[in-house]
């Protein structure tokens, strides 16, 4: 054992730089994998912690008191065994117009709700910033913490609520943790005012909307309980439930973690190949030495141990370092997440994912190492001693057409020839590079696809609208649909298309004609196909009996185009034929689309209230929006399209930063791999380089040869990696984003970005080769005399 340790220390010392590079690659892989597993494991925990601590309701019922009786509802829920508690009714009003802060508009709708304060035992609101109080005072407003982070609002600032055309100013007295609306992605959000304050904001006759929260003993039984409720109670209001709140909170991080997990898998694969290549190279160059050691009495087991120790110790150090780094990174990320949730000293258990990541990686490294080293144990000592290098098993004939037919520079010809002379090595390194090219090209194009959310919005399920106009029916001299359309028609130079639509809700009925789910959908007045919206399968509804479903809803109820779906809509039961399935990230995959004819048949008074305006590119969007607001005054409200909202833009930006960071990480891995490969190649082919030098090649000539060899190999990697990335990339994203309603990710390859990525890879590959090739300077002609 002592002799093995002694030899091991000599070997490690001799190959320290190569081993350090392998170690670095393992550190990076370990960081990625443990980060992905860690984030996936704990991402839901802060949300659940806040939800539990503040006794948040799993179901929020939002209803009009004129249609649903709050006492009856409260009574029914209170009687159910599954229910832990029912909150006291909290009146609210919806403020659809943008919120006003320092003369700027914040494109969020708010559900302005009274907070009772004293005696609240359910759906508590916790103050994070601001003076502690039981509830806001009159003239004050409490806002979720994301207002401060996303829009830069400060305590003491004034927030204007545009209610019925009047700007009601409120002083921001606290930023709070509202467990239901902790995510900035959620729109509408919620704001809290003093008990009784709503009666000063809107006429009593309009204060009909109320919210009740229902807290369950076991939230896993929510679906079953909700079906039971719908079967027992004729409820006309809306409901928001725990899974939706949680998904809004976790979707971004889950998506990011899933992307990380995919990339860490790629990283692990590349690192394992790296380990295998390094060990195989060591064994090849030690061929004679292995023979000598065996002749001296080293058993195959000793040989196995000798090499396994080198990589095993390295792997242990690298993986443990990776875990420490990822633990630190996760801590930073979690702090960032829990900060707006006001969870002090949030503790979480990372041991599971870290141990899993460590175990998987170590096991795979040992397995790969074992099979790579096994070759060393089979080397016959006599043959190894007599032939210091393994025999060339190449073809009997070696073609050399390129040398006589192509008028390329010699370094290029020789680089290509050296590469092709060892096809196995060429393909192995090519696969390394293909893996990295795959990830980098994938990252570039995913980043571009997210960036194009603003121009390719219909592919994401957003309406093809730059500005959305909301026709305000509740003002004196409100505009009719026809009037507004005529007036908008005057802007022919600015508006390319107007798409009128409205929202409506329906209940999906079970076979027993019981409502099992309420969903919100859109009703279009125009032919839907003209709006630019698309379907994943089938076509848009045209006739009064046709409907298209969003992919999440269709999946949930097992519906396909051609099937029939029974619903309760506009107070009537109706069966629709499903014509198509579409995707919509804005509604997390839930919803439906109807043509106006379907609604008019059930409700002749139906009119569109929203107008998606697609404007010409040359027109300044914000200026035109101001112009419209100026002309129409309080009779309309305008907002930017969904994908332009700050929260979506911030999310897109975060995803782009994350994937681009990953691509930088993989470029770094490429540099490590190329540097190490070249280093090993020079060591193994030292004599060849001496020979070339003796023939008249300068160090620069040889560097150029190696450079071309790398560039050809990288080119091979690209020839495999780029098409593979373009083919598999969208498929991976389809799986990752299916949960947020995107089963067909709008993958948009970016030619220039991809070309730039290729260029960067070539440049970094070249730099890595050039610096590794500096070792050529040290090559001495005397080496030849010693062989």
């Amino acid at each position: 054992m002592k002799s093995i340790l002694l030899l091991n220390s000599k070997y490690v010392n001799k190959r320290k730089w190569g081993l350090i590079l392998v170690g670095l690659s393992l550190v990076l892989t370990s960081v990625l994998l443990s980060l992905a597993l860690g984030m996936l494991t704990i991402i839901g925990q802060p949300f659940d912690r806040a939800f539990n601590t503040q006794k948040a309701s799993e179901i929020l019922l939002l209803f009009d008191g004129r249609s649903d009786d709050q006492d009856q509802l409260t009574h029914w829920f209170s009687q159910q065994d599954e229910v832990l508690g029912v909150s006291e009714p909290r009146p609210f009003i919806m403020v659809d117009a943008p919120l006003i802060h320092r003369e700027r508009e914040i494109d969020l709708s708010a559900q302005v709700t009274e907070y009772p304060g004293r005696g609240v035992v359910q759906d508590e609101i916790r103050i994070l910033k601001g003076t502690a109080a039981e509830h806001p005072n009159f003239g004050e407003i409490w806002l979720p913490m994301h207002f401060e982070q996303s829009f830069g609002l400060q305590l003491g600032d004034t927030l204007g609520l545009n209610i019925k055309g009047e700007l009601r100013k409120h002083k921001i007295s606290a930023f709070v943790v509202d467990p239901h609306y902790v995510s900035a992605v959620f729109n509408p959000t919620r704001a809290w005012v003093a008990p009784g304050a709503l009666s000063f904001l809107a006429p009593i006759s309009e204060l009909n909307t109320t919210m009740i929260g229902v807290r369950l003993k076991d939230r896993r039984k929510l679906d079953m309980f909700w079906r039971h409720f719908n079967a027992s109670f004729d409820y006309a209001g809306k409901s928001l439930q725990y899974p939706l709140f949680k998904r809004a909170f976790t979707s971004f991080y889950s998506l990011l973690s899933a992307v990380l997990l995919i990339f860490s898998g790629m990283g692990l694969f590349i690192s394992l190949l790296f380990v295998k290549h390094t060990l195989s190279s060591h064994i090849s160059s030690d061929h004679k030495r292995i023979g000598v050691l065996k002749a001296l009495g080293f058993t195959p087991g000793n040989m196995m141990l000798l090499y396994l120790l080198q990589i095993g110790v390295l792997a242990l150090i690298a993986l443990l370092s990776g875990l420490v780094i990822s633990k630190f990174v996760i801590r930073q990320m979690v702090n960032r997440i829990v900060e707006p949730m006001g969870i002090p000293n949030f503790s979480y258990d990372l041991s599971g994912p870290l141990v899993l990541s460590f175990g998987i990686t170590l096991l795979m490294i040992f397995t790969v190492s074992f099979f790579s080293i096994k070759r060393a144990t089979h080397i016959p000592p006599v043959a190894a001693i007599r032939n210091s290098f393994q025999k060339n098993k190449g073809p009997v004939k070696s073609t050399s057409k390129a040398f006589t037919t192509l008028g390329l520079p010699l370094s290029m010809l020789l680089g290509g020839r050296l590469l092709s002379s060892k096809k196995k090595d060429m393909w192995r390194t090519g696969i390394h590079m293909a893996g990295i090219v795959f990830v980098v090209v994938f990252c570039v194009n995913i980043s571009n696809s997210f960036d194009k959310i603003h121009t390719d919005r219909t592919s994401w399920g957003f309406d093809n609208a730059d500005i959305v106009v909301n026709r305000n029916k509740e003002v004196i001299l409100s505009l009719t649909h026809r009037q507004l359309m005529e007036m908008l028609g005057a802007y022919k130079k600015e508006i390319r298309r107007v798409t009128p639509y409205n929202y409506t809700n329906l209940f999906i009925l079970s076979d027993m004609n019981r409502a099992v789910k309420e969903i919100q959908g859109k009703v279009y007045s125009d032919t839907i196909s003209k709006t630019g919206l698309g379907n994943i399968i089938g076509k848009h509804p045209v006739t009064p009996n046709e409907i298209s479903l969003c992919v999440g809803t269709a999946d949930e109820f097992g519906k396909h185009p051609g099937d029939t779906i029974a619903v309760f809509i506009e107070g009537q039961k109706k069966a629709f034929r499903i014509t198509g399935i579409y995707q919509d990230v804005g509604s997390f995959g839930q919803g439906f689309r109807l043509h106006e004819k379907a609604l008019l048949e059930l409700n002749p008074l139906f009119e569109p209230r929203f107008y998606g305006l697609e404007i010409y590119q040359s027109v300044d969007r914000n200026a035109f929006r101001s112009r419209l607001e100026h002309q129409f005054g309080e009779r309309i409200q305008t907002e930017l399209s969904v994908e332009e909202r700050g929260s979506i833009t911030a999310m897109v930006m975060n995803i782009r930063i994350a994937v681009l960071t990953i691509s930088v990480f993989f470029v770094f891995v490429l540099v490590l791999i190329i540097y190490n490969n070249q280093h090993i190649y020079i060591q193994q082919h030292k004599i060849s380089f001496v020979k070339l030098k003796s023939l008249g090649f300068t160090s620069k000539n040889l560097k150029m040869v190696l450079l071309w060899k790398t560039l050809f190999n990288l080119g091979l990697g690209m020839a495999v990696g780029i098409p593979f990335s373009l083919w598999l990339g969208p498929k991976i994203m389809n799986v990752l984003t299916a949960d947020i309603g995107l089963v067909r990710f709008p993958f948009l390859p970016h030619l220039l970005g991809t070309a730039l990525a290729i260029f960067v890879l070539f440049v970094f590959g070249g730099i890595a080769t050039w610096s590794a090739a500096s070792a050529l300077r040290k090559i001495d002609f005397r080496m030849m005399c010693n062989t």
């Binding site: 060339n392 190449g394 008028g407 020839r417 004599i687 003796s694 023939l695 008249g696 002609f781």
Partner: protein
Amino acid sequence: MAAIPILKTKALGKSFEVGSGTTNGINDVHIEINEGEFTIIMGNSGSGKSTLLYLLSGLDQPSTGEIYLNNTPIHKLDEKAITLFRRNHVGFVFQEHNLISELSLKENILIVGYLTKQDRKVVQTRTALLMKELEIATLADRLPSQVSGGERQRCAIARALINTPKILMADEPTGSLNSASSKKVLSCFKKVHQEGQTILMVTHNPQSACYGNRVLFIKDGKVVDTLVFNSQHSLVQRHEVLLEWLSALGW
């Protein structure tokens, strides 16, 4: 007509560091090699013959003294300059053929030709010609590992000749060959010498040395004696003269 020296040294020396001190590999060597000569360097193991050859070819740098090759003071050239000089003026054949194992025989020759500014068609034609002359034309596309030792060495000679060097140097070119292969290789040397090529060859084999027309004997890093063969003598006669001369020198 007086012979023109193509290679000339003055007080050439090469010392090596051994532990804390130094030892002389080559010491105060003065030699002249004339154009068209086939000169042999002989000596016992460790006498410094290979070291001298490496110095004369510019593969190694002298510690002291001067070397003029084709009137160029190569001892003054930096690494790049000497490499470029060697490329055009010196052909070298090693004991181990030193072919690039990844390249075919033809490619091994072509790459050296391509290094110079010659037209590639000319290089290809000359390669074909040399391979034919050295009887390896049929093996052009084989890898070094797929041909015999003698064939490899003939390829190495062709490679050394591709740029029509002023001088062809060879370090024990038959050292690792059997007698049949050695004969073939030496015949090649004889053939190119008869075509006017200047050759400087290191060998410890008296039979090989007989192919030359002058022998320098080196001992302890110094040239101690010179033997000039009678050009009318056969190889057998030369061998006898050589052995006699060598035994007088303590061989």
